[in-house]
Symmetry: C2
Subunit: 451 residues, 2 copies
């Protein structure tokens, strides 16, 4: 039993403490929990033996910074994670409460277990283990942990843009992605970007009785339906003019590698997603649809009477939350402009429609041939005992584009989540063997880079 294996119970208790803090960044009433989670991360970094552990406050939720720079001449890694989480609703679908971590079948269930407290904690404990064992690290590290990832991460971006000297590093390590399959070491080399906002539609200036005005009154919910159908057809093709113009198709080599990945489409559909069938552009293979194609999704909609029973009202207004996932080389600003134009063109008679942006992030693609990615692949291979595969992720990690743009460094996305971890959904979990082996793999990565 190695050092890390001897400390499983301690790692688990620490993680539980972290998961009990409901640090939901999208809900302003959780500001005190955000503070508490930031302080928890700072204190863990201090206890691990890092220097300068501190909260960077002033703009938005605190950033947590720490460093260990005692290996001159060796490379420097910038470790990134986030301590904020998604809201837990719908609450009644959780088997155990979202902020009371519960262990069932080798998994720990809690909001944030995989996204991203569990994975952030992997980074901290890897460094903690090396420092506790050797009193030093084989390379230099800096930590930058944020609390606004789930709301767009704008403040960390401006911080990164303003502090290139302080954050100077050779590569960033991001522990916020997943393994393609259980036990299959995986590095993610591509992310989709996102444009997220609200579509507000206004009809009359007050709610109207559908008996009296039905047949003549504009209906904002029907209008949203018409706009959504104009933006995307029933086969999943986005009908926004110019939207696909910059989309880069994956290389033939990438397509071939993806086709070799172990994916049971029936199991993916029925067990992992719990759906009866897949949808989306029928001419594009599944992994390419979710990794290399942009999307347009409606995430929520609210309008009119939704209580118990019947109310024959034609509502004055309705709102839908919509996003577009972007792929290289699409630009959020351009896509937003295209969306606004398409909404204006699709807006039916009698209503006004307005798109209000909430946040956006650029897509990113990393070249897997650089030595920091190669070393990470080797470390994971050694710990998990299998060849590491390269995938993309359909999600968005805005900081990757910022590290590229402002620090000029590539991001190594070593992830230890699993596809069925229920991110952003009820019953989010982290597979505990991945959590424990993740700590070992990150420590091994540092050793390989330092040797």
């Amino acid at each position: 039993m190695n050092y890390y294996q001897q400390h499983h119970q301690e790692y688990l208790e620490g993680l539980k403490t972290f998961l009990r803090i409901p640090s939901i960044s999208t809900l302003s009433e959780h500001k005190p929990d955000i503070q508490k989670a930031a302080e928890f991360v700072r204190d863990e970094l201090t206890k691990a033996g890092l220097n300068q552990a501190q909260l960077i406050e002033g703009q938005g939720n605190p950033l947590v910074y720490a460093e260990w720079l005692g290996a001159p001449g060796k490379p420097t890694l910038l470790f990134y994670g986030h301590y904020d989480v998604q809201p837990p609703d719908p609450l009644d679908e959780w088997k155990t409460p979202p902020f009371e971590p519960a262990i069932r079948n080798d998994n720990i269930y809690a909001r944030g277990s995989a996204d991203d407290k569990g994975q952030t904690y992997i980074l901290i404990k890897a460094v903690d283990g090396l420092l506790k064992q050797h009193g030093r690290l084989p390379i230099n590290v800096k930590f930058l942990v944020e609390g606004e990832e789930e709301v767009g991460g704008e403040h960390i971006e401006s911080y990164v843009a303003s502090k290139p000297a302080r954050l100077k590093a050779d590569a960033a390590v991001i522990c916020d992605t997943e393994m393609f399959a259980p036990e299959l070491p995986t590095i993610c080399v591509g992310l989709r970007g996102i444009v997220y906002g609200e579509l507000w539609v206004q009809g009359a200036d007050h709610d109207l009785h559908s008996g009296i005005y039905g047949g003549a009154a504009p209906n904002p919910i029907q209008a949203i339906a018409e706009i959504l159908c104009a933006l995307k057809d029933a086969q999943g093709h986005i009908r926004i003019p110019g939207f696909y113009d910059r989309v880069q198709a994956p290389s033939e080599k990438e397509r071939a590698a993806w086709a070799r990945l172990p994916l049971d489409e029936k199991e993916y559909t029925e067990k992992e997603m719990g759906a009866k069938e897949l949808v989306g552009e029928p001419e594009i293979p599944l992994l390419e649809r979710t990794w290399a194609r942009p999307t347009l999704e409606v995430h929520g909609i609210r309008g009119g009477f939704t209580g118990e029973g019947a109310k024959t009202v034609i509502p004055a207004r309705a709102v839908a939350k919509i996003s577009m996932r972007l792929v290289a080389d699409q630009h959020p600003e351009e896509a937003t402009a295209q969306l606004k134009k398409a909404i204006a063109a699709a807006c039916p008679k009698g209503v006004t429609a307005e798109y209000k942006p909430i946040h956006s992030a650029r897509p990113s693609l990393v070249n897997p041939d650089n030595k920091f990615i190669q070393a990470a692949a080797e470390a994971m291979k050694q710990v998990f005992g299998k060849e590491t595969v390269y995938i993309r992720s359909g999600g968005s990690i805005p900081i990757v584009a910022a590290f590229d743009e402002f620090l000029g460094i590539p991001s190594v996305m070593m992830g230890f989540g699993l596809p069925d971890d229920n991110l952003h959904a009820p019953n989010e979990k982290m597979h505990l063997p991945n959590f424990f082996r993740g700590i070992e793999a990150v420590a091994r990565y540092l050793e390989i880079l330092g040797s």
Copy 2:
């Protein structure tokens, strides 16, 4: 000053007491208020001098019954009203609280002021006035006041079906419609029916992360949008096969009379509705669209994340409340079956869609040539000093069809609301001059019928 004019203050205080009871029938937590409102009506009928005033309890919200049968050989009228009201939301759009009646500019503002407490109270006070003045009525009357009109009125229908002897009358009088314009005496001779229910759409069995699954996962909100657009086109034509087959066009005489009614379409659109333009079948005139054409409207929609900020979730399910207004000779059962079939045909890949009915009512058309309608027109003409006009209403009063079917009697729809009364909407009001003159007109109606 006649007897009625001397009692305005008393009528107003009584109405205020009635309006202060939040007897919302669609919300089960208001059951005690429903009971209180029913008891208020019973007590008012007793105080007026009617006999047998009582609550009929056991099925649903209480019915209130009372009678005065001291004019043998004279006709009998069955007076109908309802003491239940719509929910007041959105609450923050009320200028004064919905259950604290407030008088501004000759109007009384409160939920239920026009629909239908104010109008029910007109009937009670007309009879009260005649009995107080003369100790007797010129004809026989029965009252049947219900507390479920806003939730479909099924229990009064089964009561009417089961008690034809007790409710035997020559005509029903329904005081739940409006005048076409201020000071313009109006009788309504046609009502639309309704079919109201919920459209439930289910995609995956749990919410999914749009980054990971976007491009492959079915989206129930998008599916509802597609179904809504399949059911009705952008011009307002309902695309349910067979749906228009039984629709009877109004006669040329009716069309010509409607074209003569005082209607400023710009004022109707901008001031009354507060909209920028009218929508609906462009080839059909406005009054025909709202009185003689069926509709399909979505009244509310709920799905996914609708809180503050952003959550990138593809929701597992969504629900929309939808109704169809029906016109003669459409049948609710047939229309429901057509709707279900059309929903099944329009349901996109990857989701299941289910329509759950909540309530329905048949449309009705009354022949204006019968003597009870003629006498009502004469009474209104005498009190208001203008020729009475005949209109239809786009709303649904299910009891009219039940009186026709089970008691074999026509309904006289004398209404004293106004088009801008904000029924079912914030700031519902009743025009007080209409309220006071309505009491006189109903009393005059009884005198004409008794002479």
